[in-house]
Symmetry: C2
Subunit: 129 residues, 2 copies
């Protein structure tokens, strides 16, 4: 398929697909005239890239793992594995961070909700400038 269809299937704009390729996050085969061609597998590949990006991985980091997504262990696999291990640890600690942030937020929410529920304050409208 060409870029338009991949875009339609993934919901990612043509613009971004080219941008991803630019950053080395996606690889396409080109027709003689230069048009990008993709296979079905690329649909999932795009989703994977998006998941990784959403997880806060940098483009560069993902780019280093790309060879391993295409086919298992070509040149650079060792390096990629190192990156992946490192990144796995990063993800784990990011999860810890999120958990901590959410706990703090929960606490903040509870304190304030409790306080707001108390009867002793006479400012129910809350629109007092």
């Amino acid at each position: 398929m060409r870029i338009g269809e991949l875009s339609a299937r993934t919901g990612v704009s043509r613009r971004m697909l080219r941008y991803y390729e630019d950053q080395g996050l996606l690889v396409s085969s080109r027709s003689p005239s230069g048009q990008r061609h993709y296979e079905d597998a690329h649909v999932e590949r795009v989703r994977l890239v998006q998941a990784f990006l959403a997880a806060g991985m940098s483009s560069g980091t993902i780019a280093e793992m790309v060879p391993c997504m295409a086919e298992p262990s070509r040149r650079g696999a060792r390096r990629a594995l190192a990156v992946m291990d490192h990144e796995r640890a990063r993800l784990s600690s990011a999860m810890d961070g999120l958990t901590a942030a959410r706990s703090a937020l929960d606490q903040l929410i509870e304190v304030n909700r409790t306080y707001l529920a108390e009867p002793h304050l006479a400012e129910p409208p809350d629109g007092t400038p």
Copy 2:
């Protein structure tokens, strides 16, 4: 304490502390001469802000919750609570995203590690440009 000490205690530069205040992430009381003065509680407040920023909250979002950090439920508490609920959901789904990304990464790691462990490939040096 003044800004220098807060900076020393939190590891956040004076520059950034002023910047945070600029963005509405931090509130200071001022001496008659305009110098910022903080209490011990602000040390933790700074850490909280950093945790929230690290959790991917925008400055604007955090700014809206700030009144609730200082003292429970002043004006704007209702709005802040709405923001907090919304943000809590965002954090939760971000955690889901991280979990999914990590799973995908684990799979990628395993496939490649397995492949790399196979005996049939004769490219151990891996340094072939």
